[in-house]
């Protein structure tokens, strides 16, 4: 769900970057106060763990050939707390952008809000609201599954809202929101089940990592899973039906306005028959320039300038 640059407008990208910067600055101050330098390496390892855990994909029965993986924000928020989890997830997003080119550079603000700050805080709050002070097995599973579903759908909804305000794509807001919520509801279930299972293992093997854990060896209860899933489905279905009102809401209205504006701007700037030769000249000229650069680089490559140096 990493947003690319191309579906955002500059004001939305800039605004979200500013919000993310302020939020992250505050969270970093909180994390600096609460986390000692000894625990800094722990956070680094957890960031690397999230990367590696995202590689361990699970084959899904539907659609055929599909597989899913853990996102990890809620799990980290439960284990490390929301501020530290936000910082760790932000570092993961920055590395994914810079090293793996996943997510746009201008969309970093949106991605940090959608995938790091909001899911960490929402997931942590919901988890503790449901799990309560006295955590039973049922509560732990129900809390982690509902927290993951809610956090995932909230992130997906934010993507839809940011895209709608940007007005770059022509897909209507409600359609995009319904599609994103539906897909991410399924992803949220998967994320929740994996998070609950991982928490169960951690409670059993390393209960000392998390405080306030029920004793014994909790296992994923089928009844707890079904009840939680049914409850979450009802909540989400009601929420989506409220959003999918026949009358346009404020965002839908703003999307219509922005789409109309962008369509107009596209229409006036579309290359027509009159400037077809200019387009051809631009493409041919660019291609020619690239070929020249490629040839020059080949010539200079043979002079041994690109030797790898030791780190």
């Amino acid at each position: 769900m990493h947003m690319p640059n191309e579906i955002l407008s500059l004001p939305v990208a800039g605004g979200s970057f500013a919000i993310a910067a302020v939020g992250l600055g505050t969270l970093c101050r909180v994390a600096s106060r609460t986390i000692s330098s000894e625990k800094a390496s722990l956070m680094g390892i957890f960031g690397a763990f999230i990367f590696a855990a995202q590689m361990l994909n699970l084959p899904l029965p539907f659609p055929p050939g599909a597989s899913g993986h853990l996102t990890g924000a809620v799990l980290l928020a439960i284990v490390l707390g929301p501020a530290a989890a936000s910082v760790v997830m932000t570092s993961v997003i920055i590395i994914q952008c810079l090293v793996f080119q996943d997510g746009g550079l201008l969309a970093l603000g949106c991605n940090i809000i959608n995938l790091a700050i909001v899911p960490s805080f929402a997931g942590h709050t919901i988890y503790h609201l449901i799990a309560g002070a006295r955590k039973t097995k049922f509560r732990i599973y129900a809390a982690s599954i509902i927290a993951c579903i809610a956090a995932t759908i909230l992130s997906a909804a934010l993507v839809s809202i940011e895209t709608a305000i940007s007005g770059v794509i022509a897909v209507p807001f409600v359609t995009f929101l319904a599609f994103m919520s539906g897909v991410h509801f399924v992803i949220g279930i998967f994320e929740g089940v994996i998070t609950a299972s991982v928490l169960a293992y951690i409670y059993r093997a390393r209960g000392d990592l998390i405080n306030g854990v029920a004793g014994g060896s909790p296992r994923l209860s089928k009844a707890a899973f079904i009840v939680t899933l049914a409850g979450a489905t009802i909540i989400i279905a009601v929420s989506i039906s409220l959003v999918a009102s026949a009358k346009p809401d404020g965002l839908e209205w703003s999307l219509q306005q922005s789409t109309a504006v962008s369509s107009e701007s596209i229409e006036t700037s579309t290359p027509g028959p009159a400037n077809g030769w200019t387009s051809l000249a631009a493409v041919a000229g660019s291609a020619l320039t690239m070929i020249v650069i490629w040839l020059v680089s080949k010539i200079f490559a043979n002079r041994g300038g690109g030797k790898c140096i030791t780190p």
């Binding site: 191309e6 690397a48 763990f49 590696a52 760790v88 920055i94 590395i95 090293v99 169960a200 680089s297």
Partner: protein
């Protein structure tokens, strides 16, 4: 693996590699802003904007095949959005390319433009990543005001990625070696959860050992680098060239 390839590429010694990380970062950010602000859907302007990152890839000796593969791997999400966008705007327009004219829809043109801009900005970020060591980028971030704890976190994360991913690869290999078919959702789920949890537990143990070792060596939360960031004449020339290129893009966007 991709990150090791990028790490290896970033250790080359070319003109772009020798530039200060800040100048490359600023150049790529400004370039991305200009490309995204080009609302015009003509192919000409996108072709012209592709020249800059293409040149960066070649000067930085980044294999074009690698860049193409990376763009191909990451395009499905933008492809879905772009293609679905095409279905919602079916107003017919005529486009001309040289002597050829073609009737198509506004949505189809928009979809192609979204994907083309994605490819161009991706080329720029690949060029940045492949010509700059992460430690230099972190130093640039730090000098540009990114919080110290976040810079340290990113540095530590990158340091451990190789270690933990290697461990995850061993686990994946072991699972593939023992499992010859789909085991059903329940068993697949429990296996994956156990693997992730086991990885979590071993990561924690590793973190504890590493933390002890770092504290024993006097780590106080600050990562120090022997290399000093310096803004040379080459950086000034590079940024001037980028500014001229941006000015050219903005000047021709109303023409082609």
């Amino acid at each position: 693996m991709h990150h090791t390839v990028m790490d290896h590429l970033s250790m080359q010694d070319t003109f772009l590699h020798r530039l200060d990380a800040r100048s490359k970062l600023i150049a790529v950010v400004v370039f991305t802003i200009v490309v995204i602000s080009l609302r015009r859907t003509g192919v000409g302007i996108i072709a012209v904007s592709a020249v800059g990152p293409f040149a960066m890839l070649l000067v930085g000796r980044v294999p074009l095949k690698l860049a193409a593969l990376q763009i191909g791997c990451l395009c499905p999400f933008i492809m879905i959005i772009a293609i679905s966008s095409a279905f919602y705007d079916r107003s017919v327009v005529t486009i001309a390319f040289g002597a050829y004219e073609l009737n198509t829809t506004q949505g189809a043109i928009g979809a192609v433009a979204i994907f083309a801009r994605f490819a161009v900005t991706m080329m720029a970020i690949i060029a940045l990543s492949a010509t700059t060591r992460l430690s230099d980028l972190l130093a640039a971030f730090s000098s540009l005001g990114l919080p110290k704890i976040l810079v340290m976190q990113i540095g530590l994360l990158y340091r451990y990625i190789f270690l933990i991913i290697d461990r995850a690869c061993h686990m994946l290999g072991a699972r593939a070696g023992r499992k010859l078919r789909y085991l059903g959702l329940r068993r697949e789920l429990s296996t994956s959860a156990a693997m992730i949890a086991s990885l979590f537990a071993t990561s924690t143990q590793t973190a504890q050992r590493v933390s002890d070792a770092m504290m024993a060596r006097g780590f106080d939360g600050t990562i120090r680098s022997l290399k000093k960031s310096t803004f040379s004449i080459a950086d000034t020339v590079f940024l001037a060239a980028v500014c001229a290129y941006m000015a050219l893009l903005l000047a021709v966007k109303g023409v082609i």
